[in-house]
Symmetry: C2
Subunit: 225 residues, 2 copies
């Protein structure tokens, strides 16, 4: 069986991505990060999802992005709520964490090379995405190019690393429909940027999620405040 490293945040997109990797016949090696995010409870969701899809292993790497700061997800800056669709569609939001997906993919590459995997799955999406530069196809292609120059396995030709982005062109509603078809249990997922017991329903991430479920005509199984 082919091995794949799957970046698993605990959110809806990465849970769907992990299930797709599994359905496509990969042995899933899940990778999550405890980086000082205010919504560190997503790690618990990631663990439950990894278990539910039968991941072979689940690695959680800890590091402290708060040392670097400058994001509402990690520093002491308020997460914006109740933004309109037009506000959400302009620019890159304050929840942007500098170079986060570059860091995540760098660790994924290291893990992939160590276990002999060629495929790295990441649930980025450039349709209903949050305006982050490191969720775009152009960025992913640049990382794939880098991956094959950066590694022993790439340079020696033992591996041809591929960054797989099965959701990149799907809307949030399409992602949810796809996930439900292949049995993703969305009650295990966590999307809210806030650190509360229940999802706030008001941050950009909750709003995108709720709009996706509404468009898909399905009830979101998680609880909101």
């Amino acid at each position: 069986m082919k091995k794949a490293v799957v970046l698993l945040s605990g959110g809806l997109d990465s849970a769907t991505t992990a299930a797709i990797a599994k359905i496509e016949g990969y042995e899933v090696y899940a990778l999550s990060f405890d980086y000082g995010q205010r919504h560190a409870r997503e790690i618990g969701s990631a663990k439950a999802i990894a278990k539910s899809i039968g991941a072979v292993d689940h690695l959680v790497i800890d590091f402290d992005m708060r040392k670097i700061g400058a994001s509402a997800l990690t520093a002491d800056i308020e997460v914006p709520t109740d933004r309109s669709d037009s506000e959400m569609s302009i620019g890159i939001p304050i929840t942007y964490v500098p170079a986060r997906n570059t860091i995540f993919l760098a660790f994924a590459l290291s893990y992939a090379e160590s276990i002999g995997a060629e495929d790295i799955f990441i649930g980025v999406n450039q349709v209903d995405y949050s305006g982050y530069p490191d969720c775009r196809e152009e960025f992913i292609e640049a990382f794939e190019n880098l991956a094959n120059l950066a590694t022993k396995a790439g340079v020696e030709g033992q591996s041809k690393f591929r960054i797989q982005t099965p959701l990149i062109k799907l809307t949030k509603a399409d992602i949810i429909r796809k996930g439900l078809e292949i049995g993703v249990d969305y009650s295990l997922t966590w999307s809210c940027y806030q650190g509360g017991d229940r999802a706030c329903g008001r941050c950009d991430s909750c709003k995108l999620r709720l709009a996706g479920f509404a468009e898909a005509g399905v009830v979101d199984p998680i609880e909101y405040e």
Copy 2:
């Protein structure tokens, strides 16, 4: 004053690189990693070097590469010693840490974006290097391309990130000569891959260092076993 992030391992190359950044008029923001390396004492060297060159700040990021494993620098695999020049020149050694410089540069990029720096200095070298794929110019160029697609500052055009590699075409002896010219205190540096109190003098890193000092006609100021 322009700001630069300088990757500082505590070794000879990165100490020289930091001094070059300083001499070129940058405010130096040093960045080191405590990643489970067996020679973690290099962190202490990095701190002393950052202080000696007058770095504005020195960030140490901790994460555990031993979770990923597969290198003699982090896993329970013996560091090779007493290899001949011809043995050292063949292939990529067991001390290779999968995708390490990709991870280091990803953090450096995040730090640079956060503090508003455009320049990232890294002391890679493809002449007297240890055979690592992520020390080559091709890799550095691919990372620079990625950096400008991966970040808010890059995409919005506020910054044009540059990966500066002042040592890339120098021999070890040239690096030492250059460093001595600009006042690098090599007694503060640590190159040995082993975790001992004194440098072993027998691992690839010690051997490259000793050959460099010999060729430069200078006595290495650190103690060996």
